[in-house]
Symmetry: C2
Subunit: 276 residues, 2 copies
């Protein structure tokens, strides 16, 4: 009998580790459950220190490494950064720090947008911090130097989502207010550059109409994880049902209930992981 | 010639020290400028660590003492806590720590509400953290055990204000959505329990109609400061024009421009005070 079951378990039983500054990253978990139903997922949300958007890059890097260490102790076979702020500043440090692959949300979203756009004019919406970081713009231009990027911070969307107003005429009005100028400027593709936003995907798609395609970073992140597991032969056996564990660093707020219901995720008992 | 000009200056030249977790407390500064035009005001906003709402009481107390120490070094003759979160948890610790009087926003707001209400049914709106703390409820009940309090968190209002949508039909709809049930429950007085909210006072008053009176915590806090300065003979000479200095612990965001314009405050050059 092995002394430590976890460290000697086969890769098929090692979970995909996912972390976020809060609860928004559960949209990535939902996409992972859909794309990789055989995989175990361990989600860690740093609700004690959310939001990260106004913290310095050094602080975000330090927090990200603390969270990655917790996922490493859970024997994660890959670490998914389900947070735009962390993805925009801390991926290189994380890759140098941990021994497993690290995947963020920005790169897969940018790749999908470049594959989707026909006129090379891509729109990006996100929080003020994400838009100010220019991370999607840099990633899109790195993939295609001719890409034109129109970015817009949409600070009202996260509070509307956290209030649970996912299908509401107020939310529709706010979305139209934000998107109309971007559509008028000629974008043909819109990247949801915030892990909360997939919860508004139906409302946003309605506002965009048929001529502008929606790119969901969460969805594309999950596909990138599947491709990576395939390349490295790390996929769990196809005959098993994956499990989900959710841990938070502080008590959850109302948004956990919104996410649970809207995403139809079987979250079960939430574990508390106090940070030292 | 005195060795230290500041510590020997007359009380008339010592500023009123005001601090907040961010920029919202400038509504209190505006009220202080109106009520006490002869006084110098030094404002300190902890933009590096905003928001405080989801931080533990111990952390908020520690931050508050750091900020009060900076105001003490500026030779403040009174310290005004222009922040509901700090006012709800840290006033006793602050009073024990500094040698000058400390005034928060909750007590003056609660007193004004009790003086205003006729049917003893008071409404309170604020952030989720403020409403959850129960601070206004406790303060109101301490003043009148028969007071009935209906509280409601309004998490969409701060982002609407920070977007500058002070006079906008979207904002009007959100306000109506929040206030209609409170009016239906029979409140006759509404306390603005968040330092951002006075920027929406005209829109909120429109939504309330004539039967519900508005109590502005910022305004009542400024009146409490005037009464205290009078009692302790600390008022500046009536023949001088007070000055305003604004310091922040990190770069200001878009909201500083909104506040500057909407409050018509002559803020001048903002100083940066890095925290150690």
């Amino acid at each position: 009998m092995p002394a430590n079951k976890r460290s000697t378990s086969s890769s098929g039983e090692r979970p995909i580790g996912v972390f976020d500054s809060g609860i928004g990253g559960l949209t990535v978990v939902k996409a992972l459950r859909d794309v990789l139903p055989n995989e175990d997922v361990f989600y860690l949300g740093d609700t004690a220190r959310v939001p990260y958007g106004n913290k310095s890059a050094e602080t975000v890097e330090r927090y990200a490494i603390e969270l990655a260490d917790i996922l490493t102790r859970e024997n994660a076979k890959v670490i998914v950064v389900a947070c735009n702020t962390v993805s925009s500043v801390a991926i290189p440090k994380l890759r140098a720090h941990v021994s497993v692959p690290v995947i963020g949300v920005i790169e897969p979203g940018a790749q999908a947008a470049i594959a989707t756009t026909r006129n090379r004019h891509v729109g990006v919406i996100g929080t003020r911090a994400t838009v100010r970081s220019g991370a999607y713009e840099n990633a899109l231009r790195a993939l295609n130097v001719h890409a034109r990027v129109t970015s817009r911070p949409c600070p009202l969307l996260v509070p509307l989502i956290e209030e649970g107003l996912l299908e509401d005429k107020l939310t529709d009005q706010v979305i139209t207010r934000y998107l109309e100028p971007m559509i008028a400027e000629g974008i043909d593709t819109l990247v949801l550059g915030c892990t909360h936003y997939p919860l508004l995907a139906p409302a946003i798609a309605r506002s965009l109409g048929d001529d502008v395609k929606l790119v969901d970073s969460a969805q594309n992140c999950a596909i990138a994880v599947r491709n990576l597991l395939d390349r490295q032969s790390l996929r769990a056996p196809q005959d098993r049902q994956g499990t989900l564990r959710v841990a938070l660093t502080d008590a959850a707020d109302n948004f956990l209930n919104v996410a649970r219901e809207a995403l139809q995720l079987d979250i079960g008992e939430v574990e508390l992981r106090a940070l030292s």
